[in-house]
Symmetry: C2
Subunit: 431 residues, 2 copies
Amino acid sequence: MKTLRIGLLGLGQIGGGLYKLLRSKKEQYKRELGISLELAKVADIDRKKQRELKIPKSVFTTDAWDVVRDPSLDVIVELIGGTKIARELVKESMKYGKDVVTANKALLAEYGDEIFELAHEMNRWILFEASVGGGIPVIKALREGLVANRIDSILSIINGTSNYILSKMTETGADFEEALKEAQQKGYAESDPTLDIDGSDAAHKLAILARFAFGGRVKFSHIYCEGISKIRSEDILFAKELGYRIKLLAIAKAMHGGIEARVQPTLLPESHILANVNGSFNAILMRGDEVGDVLFYGRGAGSGPTASAVFSNLIDIALREGSRFGDRTMMMRGIRGNLKIKNISSILSRYYLRFYVVDKPGVLARISQVLGKHRISISDVIQKERSEGNVVPLYLLTHDAHENDVRKAIHAIDRLRIIRGKSQLIRIENN
Amino acid sequence: MKTLRIGLLGLGQIGGGLYKLLRSKKEQYKRELGISLELAKVADIDRKKQRELKIPKSVFTTDAWDVVRDPSLDVIVELIGGTKIARELVKESMKYGKDVVTANKALLAEYGDEIFELAHEMNRWILFEASVGGGIPVIKALREGLVANRIDSILSIINGTSNYILSKMTETGADFEEALKEAQQKGYAESDPTLDIDGSDAAHKLAILARFAFGGRVKFSHIYCEGISKIRSEDILFAKELGYRIKLLAIAKAMHGGIEARVQPTLLPESHILANVNGSFNAILMRGDEVGDVLFYGRGAGSGPTASAVFSNLIDIALREGSRFGDRTMMMRGIRGNLKIKNISSILSRYYLRFYVVDKPGVLARISQVLGKHRISISDVIQKERSEGNVVPLYLLTHDAHENDVRKAIHAIDRLRIIRGKSQLIRIENN
């Protein structure tokens, strides 16, 4: 029987979950798969974990370096998180001849290029199914299942916290602050929710998807990132009225002249499959030249889904051990040079715009004139609660326009005397 | 460079598509994946295909037996279809030491047990991603990505023709015959649509999914199968009024005392993710004990999606070639004895019932009485177009009840004097 000797780093929620899964199902996996997964060494800085999880003393250590350098281990599972120590430990593991499984999206987004190159050099596997979409096997799908395809685009909901908040706002009419509070109470948002609501977490995951969808190195800082805290309940209501839903999308598209890669709140037609992904669920929609549209949906976080993904990577390693062919890391949509990510100002999109205006005759004409001057044409307009002299919201949808033009137009409009308060811009995706 | 020498059987829509894909992308695959996929032999009974597809004369043959016995080939791709010659050719291929890739769901559903056992015996791969869900990598997800999970249930829309017809009926209020005609005109239904609309095609695919979800041999004839031709536009309308959509679902559940496996029109709550899968799209929703709900969505048919799936299997074979470990066929959720499929009469479900009754006082009381006697309780009732003495439809939803009781009750109700015409029964799934 094939035995895989595993070193596990980190016994937080996910590491603890994986430890329990491997222990409780060990005999079953032996029987069904013919593979023995031995948790030979487990490290956490917190000594209490050893007793809490009933880990044999000979297996537990507080020194992660001791684990990554242990010559008797085959694979290191990195579940520490963060980009500092984790980065060093992952690299040391490979230098010591070990394959690596990680769920660390920040690490791969920011230092993926260096880590994948080292893996290539050392001829080691690095697998990371749990880093995007939790238990959804989307990385496997992208690298293996869809390998025949040129990937043209990815539209994805890959931050469960943001999706929960926007879903709540849509369902109940709550404003952002209320919905966030509820998400925190229910455990869908952390006490410091910054990385989730400002879009960084989704951008990390998008960096990983884009790398393997388009086959190239990705400079993380080039990914445009906008969060959801600017969304007001009135934006959601107005979008609804015109048949749209607002979702935080992570978008990557292969375009003429480079890749578009951006995280942004987005208006989606209500019949769009992603518009119907609600609560804390994740979904990734990819378009391939052969397969057309394919969508993967499931829970993007939590200890069960994450353990499921990490475990599948361990089996991948056990089963492909000894495969004579190919480069272990880059196999399937490998890294082929740098991807050029286009600046946000150069994209073409439809837009939702909201202005607060002093309600008097000629206001709409004035605004349309400025938009027109910047080559932006209006497809829909709604002005509500009309009462001359008061400040009222004015909602507009545009046809396709250049971001650069739209920003200039908004800048010009914001300086008009009739404008009160900050204007809103949300991009629209129609398909 | 790794070279895979391929023999292709069948140049119909799918085989022709695969031939073109492999030819047009051959150099790209060499460059990106380091694998050379050589279409070394191609067979079709129709000689014209050779010229149409511009296949070199030395590569083309009309004799499939010549291909499967060719010692220079590594893999046979079977795209002939049907269960007679295909069955013999697949077996002969393995006897001659070849791995096999097939899209033939009927073959695997009906003769999978014998074919998988032979593959096991001969230590050959048989891969079949294209047999379920077209280009959606659902078999890979089930066998590899979700390997950590005990699968508890599968709810799936895996016949595009039926889904197109039901979606049309829902959107436009068309009746079954009209919608079928439109599906035929648009190429979503064949001129003889029997296998699609009677549920057999979905049942074939369900047999494959159930085998690998639950790990056992499946007797195809034990899968319960009901098609969509009995669905009337009024059923769809009434379901809509109560917040439901009607979909043809292929369902497999691990239950106490055995597996439930059935294909049936089903009422789904409109907020259910599968209720929003429209047109010719397919979607497979699985529930695993670790991962929770995961859904895979995409085009279930067509030459591009199918070629994409077949191609991914060829890469699987090329990459795992030489893997020292394990049994090639049964790896990942292997076959472990026979699955017991429960008889439909033993299931528990909610039901939608429609009766045509003579409208007079006491009719509803009479029907409820019969249902009550059979331990069936009503959750919703609507009686429309009331006008005493006339025949009117009576719609009922029930709470959970035993199928056996429901059938007996309907049998008894159908013999009441107040009943006119055939009664309707559609099962409901709530989650």
